[in-house]
Point group: C2
């Protein structure tokens, strides 16, 4: 998605060889009009998959997932990473290690909102080692729902998550794939191919 790549270059900050900061439009400040374009892009890529539900993870997945849900006109569930007063029963859970936070958390989704006849689109902001997406897939599978696809805003192609998810045979659509963050430069996957 060219608009996304332009925004990453213009507003992103490379913090290290493995960490890209996009707090300016995705992870802290949100650009809502741009998020709607993200949502439309996800919707276009998965419109043929008869999605009935979108599953994401708090917090940075919520905005892109909600916009995709608006375009596809389906509900969006955000898995909780922490205890909630109201999210207490009928829980499906999975353990997820966060690359950015360097901690393991138990994510929870209520079985009230995801059923065996659901066709689920998993959406998340970043794909690094794939733990979050794998955890969400695990939860969908516990509900015996079908994971019809995975939508990622930014994939770090030099980490193992992309391969791990694609090896499971599910359609993975990343709106931008980064091949390298070395030397404080963002190199997108297409650019490497052209060299």
């Amino acid at each position: 998605m060219d608009l996304l790549k332009e925004k990453i270059v213009a507003e992103g900050k490379v913090l290290s060889d493995t960490v890209l900061k996009v707090d300016a439009f995705l992870n802290h400040q949100i650009d809502p009009v741009f998020m709607q374009e993200i949502g439309k892009e996800f919707a276009n890529r998965f419109r043929d998959k008869n999605i009935t539900k979108i599953l994401t993870l708090e917090s940075s997945g919520i905005a892109p997932a909600t916009m995709a849900g608006l375009e596809l006109d389906v509900p969006v569930i955000f898995a909780r990473k922490r205890q909630s007063l109201t999210l207490t029963n009928n829980l499906l859970t999975a353990d997820v290690y966060s690359f950015t936070k360097q901690t393991t958390s138990k994510i929870s989704v209520s079985h009230d909102f995801i059923q065996a006849d659901d066709r689920v689109l998993v959406i998340d902001d970043f794909l690094a080692n794939g733990q979050a997406a794998l955890g969400l897939m695990d939860i969908a599978e516990q509900a015996e729902a079908t994971v019809a696809g995975i939508g990622i805003v930014i994939e770090k192609g030099f980490q193992e998550g992309g391969q791990a998810l694609r090896d499971k045979g599910v359609k993975v659509e990343s709106l931008a794939i980064i091949d390298s963050l070395e030397n404080k430069q963002v190199v997108f996957k297409e650019e490497v191919r052209q060299q």
Copy 2:
């Protein structure tokens, strides 16, 4: 907002005299089309306030705030409750006691994204004792920004937050105000007035 009240009655669950669970469309599962109506309602009520930025708190504030941001075409910042790998410097912070979680957390917003010339609309899902909104106002004030208004999806009118915020002289718009949750019944504020 009648559509909101209908949804609360149809899909909400009264857990106790003080806790309403709306996981079905706001706090865990999100109804994106309905959230867009919420966003439009907030936008209509604050369109005359020259809002330049919306400030909310992760996680349940993100969807309604993002939809309001879409309607008003302004950026949305979600304050972080927990440490983030990328949100590390130039932080404005405030301590907030969460009624639902019964814990105090330090919320953070980067000063990079909120400036003295900003006119801020604070948006949150619930208003109970007002701590979250007061914390967000505190952060806006630290940035010397103007708090032009506060938008709340559901206010629990029998708790002190509404009064605390209105006493500060800022315009507070709650899309539904609940007067009582006793006897497992939701009584909206207008209903009490009519008795």
